[in-house]
């Protein structure tokens, strides 16, 4: 069974919930798919058994010795990545999308493509099973392909170790990496918070999960910081036919647990937060 924890809005407590889920059961595979800001390894300090290079894309570079500064490539580039400065043609690495069209149209073959190979996939053991996570190198495109690779690795680890539970900690937002994180999973848990932004982002997130017809449930974190807004979230979910399976109170122990490299169920097993999260997990 694959469970994905996502949030739309960042900082709602998605990773804290994933970490709690991962420590409720003996033996799970934990897949940290927030490849742009992978953090769960900080709590679980996994023993890395495997490190693989992930090629996220490619970038064009110009060989100045060959380039005649004719500017044809500049006319074809749709990403405004090629500019002319005092008669010299330059490629802006940041804007280059790696489509390779400039290299194809260059009459003197002055442009070549180099691989972006600084991103990594890691796999290893942690105290409750196996763990896979990705680290996207800054500036590289978060296309969702690294998320796919992390999920494939998690499945491989699950089969090899006969573990039937995979917990996916997804990225924030609603773009490609999120879609890659939830496609084909058995259950999505959306963690939100009782703020106007939280509700707004929840709506956009539920639009994504309903497009994919995935069984979805919602957890409201820090619900007591604004109970009126929590009611609004519950009302909205009710209209959409989506269950709110837990309301987690604000508790500084959640952050303290993180500081101590533990999940809340490890750090404060008798806290209400731990109870609410355990119950939500039982529902699944």
């Amino acid at each position: 069974m694959e469970i994905a924890v996502i949030s739309g809005k960042g900082g709602t407590g998605k990773s804290a919930v994933s970490a709690a889920f991962a420590t409720l059961n003996e033996n799970v595979v934990l897949a940290d798919c927030d490849v742009d800001a992978a953090n769960l390894y900080l709590i679980f300090n996994p023993v890395i058994r495997e490190e693989n290079v992930f090629v996220s894309g490619q970038k064009a570079i110009i060989d100045k010795d060959i380039c005649t500064n004719c500017g044809i490539c500049m006319d074809y580039c749709r990403f405004d990545a090629i500019t002319e400065n005092n008669g010299e043609i330059l490629i802006d690495e940041t804007s280059c999308d790696g489509c390779q069209l400039c290299a194809r149209v260059c009459p003197v073959e002055a442009i070549s493509m180099i691989k972006e190979d600084k991103s990594r996939l890691y796999a290893g053991d942690f105290r409750n099973g196996k763990m896979a996570y990705g680290r996207l190198s800054p500036g590289e495109e978060n296309s969702g392909r690294l998320v796919d690779v992390v999920r494939d690795k998690a499945k491989e680890l699950a089969i090899a170790s006969a573990i039937d539970m995979i917990i996916i900690d997804g990225p924030p937002g609603i773009g490609c990496p999120v879609i890659s994180s939830v496609t084909g999973v058995d259950r999505v848990v959306v963690v939100t918070e009782p703020t106007l932004s939280g509700l707004h982002d929840l709506k956009r997130t539920l639009e994504v999960t309903s497009n994919f017809n995935i069984k979805t449930q919602v957890l409201v974190n820090k619900y007591d910081l604004n109970e009126t807004m929590t009611d609004n979230i519950e009302a909205y979910c009710g209209e959409q036919g989506i269950a709110v399976t837990g309301k987690i109170p604000f508790d500084p122990q959640v952050v303290e647990a993180m500081v101590h490299c533990q999940s809340i169920v490890e750090y404060a097993p008798d806290s209400e937060v731990a109870h609410v999260i355990s119950k939500a997990f039982e529902v699944i």
Partner: protein, 293 residues
């Protein structure tokens, strides 16, 4: 004295640290002093600034890209377009004579149009999102980038939104989270970057990654710590060691959280915070070496 344009990006590696909170409050104090300022909400996946800053929607336009339409009657099924496509957006089976465009994967680079020797491919506009402008007061504007649900990347919409801001203006950019492409595209255009973080091991880990990225880009930056009092000393120690400017420290406070949660601005509710955000802007302009504001 002619005012120079100044672009300030408000960014964070980790999501939910308070970028929108800082952006909207900074905008608010400048607006109240009649400073001409434009706020661009670059978090196109989840734009929220407009919920804090009411104004009339004065202009909206779609951001589109050209996707290919293949005329299968003209197509010779040579496969050159599929070979040119770096995004696997053209599904092609030569023997079965099947060719299909996967619009979701297309980046609009135009390579397939160049590839086709038989004029079988024509362009079609596909909507990636919208840019919405809101007039807040006479000389202040909010520009929102809003990506369409299901689109592969927010970058084209973000770029189009930033282009709407006049280069001579003071521009605040509420950046997307993370350090990948959308973040880089936003901060690349900034003269100064405010990194918002929280004092936790997660916050510290993401802050370090953001700082390394900004260093490699040669950007000026400073840090705001939000929800101080929760967590540990890690972020504070890191800033001291690396001699990074701590611009502001916002304590964790149920009252602040409650003000934010209802879509209100802290700088409208508490005078002391109005003064603190004004001071924040003074520190930044002093660091940037432009004190004409």
């Amino acid at each position: 004295m002619e005012r120079m344009g100044l672009k300030i990006a408000i960014a964070s590696g980790k999501g939910g640290t308070g970028k929108t909170f800082v952006s909207t409050n900074l905008f608010n104090v400048l607006m109240q002093e009649s400073v001409p300022v434009t706020l661009v909400d670059c978090d196109a996946e989840e734009p929220n600034d407009r919920e804090f800053i009411p104004g009339d929607n004065t202009n909206s336009f779609d951001v589109t890209q050209e996707v290919p339409v293949i005329d299968t009657a003209t197509c010779t099924f040579c496969g050159k377009c599929a070979e040119y496509c770096q995004y696997n957006a053209i599904f092609f089976l030569q023997e079965e004579r099947v060719i299909q465009v996967m619009e979701d994967l297309c980046h609009g680079c135009g390579a397939c149009f160049v590839a086709c020797e038989y004029r079988a491919i024509t362009p079609k506009e596909s909507v990636l999102g919208t840019v919405n402008s809101f007039q807040i007061t006479e000389n202040t504007t909010l520009i929102e980038a809003r990506m369409k649900v299901g689109v592969h990347s927010p970058v084209p919409v973000v770029k189009a939104a930033i282009k709407q801001a006049k280069p001579t203006d003071l521009v605040l950019m509420d950046a997307p989270p993370g350090t990948s492409c959308p973040f880089i595209q936003t901060v690349n255009l900034a003269d100064y970057v405010i990194l918002v973080t929280e004092p936790t091991p997660f916050g510290l880990s993401d802050l370090k990654q953001s700082v390394e990225t900004l260093k490699s880009m040669g950007k000026r930056y400073g840090v705001i710590i939000n929800r101080a009092g929760l967590g540990d000393e890690g972020v504070f120690n890191y800033l001291e060691q690396e001699k990074i400017s701590l611009l502001m420290s916002i304590p964790f406070d149920r009252e602040i959280a409650s003000v934010y949660s209802t879509g209100k601005l802290l700088t409208n509710e508490f005078l002391e915070w109005k003064a603190k955000f004004r001071e924040l802007f003074n520190i930044i302009t002093a660091q940037y070496g432009n004190s004409s504001y």
